[in-house]
Amino acid sequence: MEDHVVIIGNGISGVTAARHIRKASNKKITIISAETNYFFSRTALMYVYMGHMKFEHTQPYEPYFWKKNRIELKQGYVSKIDSDTKQLHFANGETLAYDKLILATGSKPNKFGWPGQDLNGVMGMYHKQDLENLEKHAPDNKTCKRAVIVGGGLIGIELAEMLHSRHIPVTFLVRETSFWNGVLPQGESAMINREILRNGIDLRLNTNLREIKSDKNGKVKSVIIEETGEEIACNVVGLTAGVSPNINFIKNSNIETGRGIKVNQYLETNITDIYAIGDCAEQHKGINGRRPIEAVWYTGRMMGETVAQTICGNRIKYQPGHWFNSAKFIDIEYQTYGWVFAQPRENETHFHWKHDDDTKCITINMNATTGEFIGINTFGIRMRHELFDQWLTEKRDVDYILEHLKDANFDPEFFAQFEEDIIAQYNTEFNKNISPKKKSWTRIFSKA
């Protein structure tokens, strides 16, 4: 009899693990979710509200896929894990036995105890249910005359874009002095501030929420600003002040938790045969300078790829490669490769170039003495992941990277290119004399 692998959570981490376990074995696989029947791309929920897509379009696999790959899907809410008898207890009283258990329960939106945070019309933007809630409270600008968003991160700006697409006026409260400036260097953060304002969104920097006020039916009526006491009338409040691991139901089990579920580098918890991956997993110590908890699509997928090997008998450490990430700020795409911090760390320096049209810029982080390339943020210009990954591995210096920057350009054909501009500015600022090399297919496609 083959092992029964049970996965709690049908997000990218859990589903990737299931797919890879199926590729490598004949184990019985069950995925449990309380949220939806089928895996969907959480990052695409915004496009459903905006009308770019329908909800079924966010599902990467057709229903036949699960049957064909013998992956059982079970809808239900696990309320308790009994690791001694290897049993899961569901909220409705059912039980399910497992041989190996993978916890991939993801995150939940943060709430910081604001007065009124549980009123009707207050919501996060994370679950499918949040989307349904938003559709109910903000179907158009007649039902929702204004929405207030609290928290200036990736989900906050996405929610602002969503509401804006239905012509609903948005006030965007950001605690920091500039949008997402804990992550983005100042030039970039300032450019995104302007992008938000260009789109007619009422951006309030340095602004905190004091409380959310209710009407007599328990529905949102307004918010009060902490600093000024100003009252802003609104029908919807979006709370987007980050996420944290979704582990409440685990706290009454023997599994060790901190902010998330504690795992070693093999993604094993303190209990044999129980693993944790994705947003809910917390490394004892961050790997290669990464944070212990990384709530990112890509890391969730990588942990799924890795844990599947371990489950199938090829015990392997989770060793993510060079950091990369991406996002889109209204109309400005963002990609990052390697490390670029908001403030250069010790012995690091930034090179920043921005286009006059205020929608494109790059920041390159380098070693201040050796000029070694450490990372790049690119806005409004697409760049090749493979090349930057290779250059990071080869520990190239910035001169080399700029000389070969045309190779890295990933914008569609016929797009204007800016390598000459970028290099000219670099030459001036760093007193260099480099010139860009012509794009070369041989270099682009020679795998390191």
Binding site: T58, Y298, E305, D331
Partner: protein, 542 residues
């Protein structure tokens, strides 16, 4: 801005209503002299037919087009019945000589409509015929003006440049709602009239007579109306594309290219060739999409037209055998399907609002492969039969009559599939129904693209977030995401390289490019960004 847009819509709909209503206008009464000269010219003049026409209402009264057409077709039917009777009579009498002489007076049933059309063209009078300029303004003029007024405010209404597909899945026009079904019914009816009942829409040809005469010196046929309308629609909807994709130069250049090839190659050059008494030819229309290129009448016309005919013959063969596959090798089939082709041109302009409606299901992909390759095989078989009969003088090959297979293909594939279904079903099944399921040229280009081409859509390492915008907006129904989320390049025979997947991707994951064949197809399980040892282990296992 919104008011302006709605005003435009109202003007457009008025123009469309007048255009549609115009087919009910006018009086049709045939002059005796016109009748005789027409019958003589067609070589079908005979006493019986003359008398039947003379005694019918069409020379006596002013009729509406529907009654006129019905009488003409009734007369032609009587005529055939009369000669069938004679044929039977002489057959019984074994008078082969007289029997043989009767056949020339029979008129092929599939030509009834064209006889009716030609007579109506001579017989028409009334408001439309007398006010061609005014009618042009009230139909085409208002249509163009209204559509532009509707579209141009988008420049402001859409907001800053970027991908603005807001609400397309919430709108009755673009989400298979009642508006979409109305448009479908209108388009399907339009095509049925155009292909099978052209005499009913003869008034449209009156409206365009002045333009047609100025180009080719001939009066407008229904095909001229179609060609002109095609160009007008593409120009207007290209303006929409320019606004929607003003941030994307690939889309702008590509739209300009299809527009140029439609207007110059498909429309103007053939008209001018007619004016110069040459066989008219669309130099970019490659066999087997140009399915009648090897038909006897075309080969005859080309071989009798001196050096230009010979040039067209050689060019047509070179185009299909050499130019098309070589270009596909270097650039992918996009160079034809979304840069040059007329069908593609309409799909990329008029059809753009419907691109997301193509089915991405696995079962549709299976259906697509069966259908499109069957049509390719059908077109090749037909051509084989036709050429065999042309060179040997036989009338059939392997028991397949050349006339029968030509007619069957022309009606089933040429008219119903490419036209009625191909374009008529845009609002429900997406804008590439014909290109995806039916076009034999696309099938041929696809085979080259799949097995021997530098073209691919590169997936940018591990950056895909499986959002599904690429798949949703793929007009060819390719599940782009299923490749991108595995870090694989997209190499699919059906991809026409429209570039919209790349445009709508929020994370910069997709790029259309031509590069070396090595590593073009790159199956991966573990994506870039993870442990290099694990990637090697899993990706290189099989």
């Amino acid at each position: 801005m919104k008011t302006l847009s709605y005003t435009g819509l109202f003007i457009f709909l008025s123009g469309l209503a007048i255009f549609t209503a115009s087919i009910f206008l006018g009086d049709f009464q045939l002059k005796q002299s016109d009748l005789s000269s027409f019958l003589d010219q067609k070589g079908i003049n005979n006493d019986f037919l003359q008398n039947e026409f003379k005694n019918s209402n069409i020379t006596k009264n002013r009729l509406g087009i529907f009654e006129f057409s019905s009488i003409v077709r009734g007369v032609l039917k009587n005529n055939n019945a009369h000669y069938d009777q004679l044929i039977a009579k002489y057959d019984a009498a074994k008078d082969w000589d007289k029997k043989g002489k009767q056949y020339q007076f029979r008129i092929n049933e599939k030509d009834f409509r064209s006889v009716s059309f030609a007579l109506a063209k001579k017989a028409g009078s009334g408001f439309v015929v007398e006010n061609k300029g005014l009618m042009w303004f009230l139909t085409f003029g208002l249509g163009i003006l209204g559509a532009l007024l509707f579209i141009l405010p988008q420049l402001k209404l859409l907001g800053p440049k970027g991908i603005k597909n807001n609400g397309i899945h919430l709108n009755a026009a673009t989400n298979r709602g009642w508006i979409a079904w109305l448009v479908l019914v209108y388009l399907v009816t339009f095509y049925i009239f155009l292909y099978f009942m052209a005499d009913y829409v003869v008034n449209w040809t009156f409206i365009l007579d002045p333009i047609s005469i100025s180009l080719s010196k001939n009066e407008a046929s229904q095909w001229f109306v179609y060609g002109f309308l095609y160009c007008v629609i593409m120009v207007v909807m290209a303006v929409r594309m320019y606004i929607k994709y003003r941030h994307n130069k690939y889309q702008i250049v590509r739209t300009t290219s299809v527009l140029f090839f439609q207007i110059v190659f498909a429309f103007l050059i053939p008209e001018i060739m007619t004016r110069l008494k040459m066989p008219s030819y669309d130099f970019k229309n490659a066999f087997p999409l140009d399915y009648d290129f090897f038909f006897e009448w075309n080969l005859k016309s080309l071989t009798e037209s001196g050096s230009i005919g010979l040039f067209i013959l050689v060019w047509g063969i070179l185009l299909t055998l050499v130019i098309v596959p070589v270009m596909v090798y270097f650039f992918g089939k996009r160079w034809y399907c979304s840069w040059v082709c007329g069908c593609g041109g309409l799909a990329e302009t008029l059809g753009d609002p419907y691109r997301h409606l193509s089915s991405k299901k696995m079962i549709s992909w299976k259906l697509e492969r069966w259908l499109i390759h069957s049509v390719l095989a059908f077109s090749l078989l037909m051509t084989l039969v036709v050429l065999y009969c042309y060179f040997t003088g036989a009338s059939s090959l392997l028991g397949i009559p050349a006339d029968w297979i030509k007619d069957t293909y022309s009606v089933l594939i040429g008219a119903w599939f490419a036209g009625v279904i191909g374009t008529g079903f845009y609002p429900i099944f997406g804008n590439r129904v014909w290109c995806r399921f039916g076009c034999p040229l696309a099938a041929y280009l696809g085979l080259v693209q799949r097995f021997k081409s530098r073209f691919r859509i590169t997936t940018n390492g591990g950056q895909c977030i499986s959002c599904g915008n690429c798949s949703t907006h793929c007009e060819m129904g390719i599940d782009v995401r299923s490749y991108a989320q595995k870090g694989e390049n997209i190499v699919r025979s059906s991809c026409v390289g429209c570039g919209v997947c790349s445009a709508v991707c929020p994370r910069g994951v997709l790029k259309l490019e031509n590069g070396p064949l090595d590593g073009r197809i790159n199956p991966t399980d573990v994506l870039l960004g993870n442990d290099v040892d694990l990637m090697d282990l899993v990706n290189n296992k099989s």
